[in-house]
Symmetry: C2
Subunit: 457 residues, 2 copies
């Protein structure tokens, strides 16, 4: 029996144990944005370190950053001529609120039908587990075919503020021939997918202050400006009625899609029905002149992610609030520059802010879009692995989300990232009832077993 098949047999025989181990990992509420969850962040990092130890890793380290630590490890037992693959992952997850919309508790992994429900199941603890279980299965069949380094960060869901400086200051430790990043996903369970492009992210928090305290709206209403009203005006003005973003120069640097790429994208099965099903929307809305898949993957966006001012409890309170806040983010496409976008937003705000208000702009994230070269050995190895496991040639697509680390690894380590992942579009990422399709997860383990063998020279 070929060694690949022995590894795959091992994976199939151990599928229930693999699932149990994933449930353990998913039960740790490692929410990076929540200061109260710091102990759970540490717990998740140690859980990974224990797992890496079981895989026979060496040089296992928990490396501090100003906020959440990075897990590093090596599995360098293959011949020196074999490539070194830097496996990236993040052990942090999104917040789970609003809790009342979950059908089962977010950190009590629950299986219903083919799906496992838990915060982080798809994004991306399940993907990390697929890698680790593929490695375990491969090790059970024999010597591991390539060299591996692991880097697992804890800040992806808060925009990875410390990852770029960490990579910059650890280029020797992280030296590699390529990266494997399983934080992407598939279009459908029967459609193996290679992702070659990602949108960037510029995420801001705008804080407006009016008067020094909240004021009684009866006593003082009529003579003062209200920061909640002014914030609404600022946000409303950021898009026109044709859904175009009005920030000065916002579209200037965007590279147009080539007719070849337009044709490739047109072949993806991501039509109106796909997006309506994925979003649950009764009607899609977007810029004119682009297909839905182009709008969701190749065009920039601007969304209010959160807004708060004044009294939001039950009932009524007749205040003129002194403060209003909005979180606003833009998805960026090549070659938009996050710093130029920030400057454009500052220019926009300063041109419109009335002199009764002061503002503060906090940058939560600023990462450009990224691309991967399709001719690298990593992409080829993945393409072949997907074809064997799924029985069909994969499609190639850009993704609407952002994985800034892909850009950092290219720039700082000269490493192309192979993007994969076995989540599906309806996994409810970042939303209540996040889940992962288990049959596809098992196929993911099989795919990664083939991938590692395919990489070996």
């Amino acid at each position: 029996m070929p060694i690949q098949d022995q590894a795959i047999n091992f994976a199939h025989e151990n599928s229930q144990r693999f699932l149990n181990e994933m449930e353990e990992f998913l039960s740790i509420p490692s929410i990076s944005t929540d200061p109260e969850r710091v102990p759970d962040m540490i717990k998740a990092a140690h859980w990974l370190m224990d797992e890496l130890k079981k895989r026979g890793c060496t040089n296992i380290q928990l490396l501090p950053t100003p906020r959440h630590p990075i897990v590093f490890a090596e599995l360098m037992g293959a011949d020196a001529k074999q490539p070194t693959v830097l496996v990236y992952g993040h052990y942090d997850v999104q917040p789970a609120d609003p809790l009342e919309l979950w059908q089962s508790l977010p950190f009590d992994p629950t299986i219903r039908g083919d799906l496992i429900y838990a915060r982080g199941a798809s994004d991306m603890k399940g993907q990390i587990m697929a890698c680790l279980k593929a490695i375990e299965s491969t090790q059970a069949a024999g010597k591991f075919p390539v060299n591996i380094k692991f880097i697992f960060e804890g800040e992806e869901e808060i925009g990875s503020p410390n990852l770029e400086p960490f990579i910059r200051s650890h280029t020797d430790l992280l030296k590699c021939d390529m990266a494997l990043n399983p934080d992407s996903g598939m279009i459908a369970a029967d459609l193996p997918t290679v992702v070659y492009g990602l949108r960037g992210l510029a995420y801001f928090e705008i804080r407006l202050r009016g008067q020094l305290t909240d004021l009684h709206s009866g006593l003082w209403g009529g003579v003062v400006q209200n920061p909640a009203n002014v914030l609404a005006e600022l946000l409303a003005g950021m898009k026109d009625k044709d859904h175009h973003i009005t920030l000065p120069g916002f579209y200037d640097k965007i590279l147009p899609l080539s007719s070849k790429e337009k044709a490739e994208i047109a072949r993806l099965p991501m039509d109106q029905d796909f997006y309506m099903k994925g979003t649950g929307a009764q009607k899609l809305v977007g810029e004119k002149g682009y297909s839905w898949v182009e709008l969701a993957t190749c065009r920039p966006t601007l969304d209010v992610n959160g807004i708060y001012s004044g009294f939001t409890g039950e009932g009524s309170k007749t205040v003129i609030p002194c403060y209003a806040m909005a979180k606003v983010s833009m998805r960026l496409v090549p070659d938009q520059d996050p710093e130029e976008i920030r400057k454009s937003l500052v220019q926009y705000i300063e041109a419109r802010l009335p002199e009764t208000m002061t503002y503060e702009l906090i940058v939560h994230a600023g990462n450009p879009a990224s691309f991967t070269d399709l001719d690298t050995p990593g992409v080829k190895a993945l393409e072949k692995a997907l074809e064997v496991v799924y029985g069909k040639r994969p499609v190639f697509k850009r993704e609407g989300g952002s994985i800034p680390v892909v850009g950092h690894m290219k720039r700082l380590l000269n490493a192309e990232s192979v993007l994969t992942g076995f989540g599906l579009p309806d996994d409810n990422l970042h939303a209540p009832n996040e889940h992962l399709n288990l049959p596809n997860w098992y196929r993911g383990i099989d795919t990664l077993i083939h991938f590692f063998y395919n990489l070996a020279k």
Copy 2:
């Protein structure tokens, strides 16, 4: 010594005890909007009933409503020819949040200089206490000169949803010749004030729903509409750049100010400095063509009182929220009708809401503006009392706030309300660090003693 002076001497001799008793009342956190404070609401009502018992009241009752009960009592010992005065008050207070902005705890009354700091000190537990202590002092000097009924509600700060039906179904119990409502205030500590007009209030909550769940802004951004963005557009469109409200027909029913009233208002010492000091604003902003005092008391307003959507915690979350909410209220002037304003808001929303959204409109309050006839015996008695205690003729003004009960009593009981109160514009009503000026409170007790004697035939 005239009997009035004996009563006033008693008040002066007992000033410290009166203060202590007020502190007791202020320490009860009777926040009507907060379901968790129901026991404190009951406690405050019982505290008042005990106090009324000490005053020798009869027929003391705690009368239920669908939410917070009403305290009723009678003090009908005067001759039948004497007028019956219905004393109105509310024992509920505004929420205290944001707590971190209070210099001392809101329900731990604290004296600094001439001021007592506590939620409800000015609005309006202090005013209720001034009435009750004026009555006690008058009783100490001899037989109480007029007949009194008391009605203390617990829902004023949530728009008095059950007060009108209560008055309607208790017209015999509440039968009276006039009402005394000390929920108003003075322009300055040296400027006795009679309030003859009040703005109305239409308070709404607009809830928008987009998709069924929050969506990942990377995966789906670009093809769906975002209720937070749409809500911002709706709110922004409610006023134009000249601060005019754009709801259809909003200004149609407004009665213009007569030149006589304009002249009266112009004599009030409420100029730009007054409003800048009162609001703490660096610059006032309002409709062109009106003075600041006209804008704050005789013109309608529209303010966002609260807004919420999506992720508002620390850090960032890349969601397209499924839900967005705003609390929006308008101050109304004669003859704007709250129900017509509601219809106008519905018309405005329905004309602009994209078909991707559904909305819900909740009415938290809907009360028209009100006026009091200046020639009633009650107003005359108050005018004379103020002149004696403060040594100058009072000014007459309209107020920017809303006291819906004034309209109910006129309509349902045929009772004019005498509006008074000894709070000042900088008392931080509805805001952190609410306080009451104690020297003025003591003068208020003296004024009310004179008022009751002046009323007697």
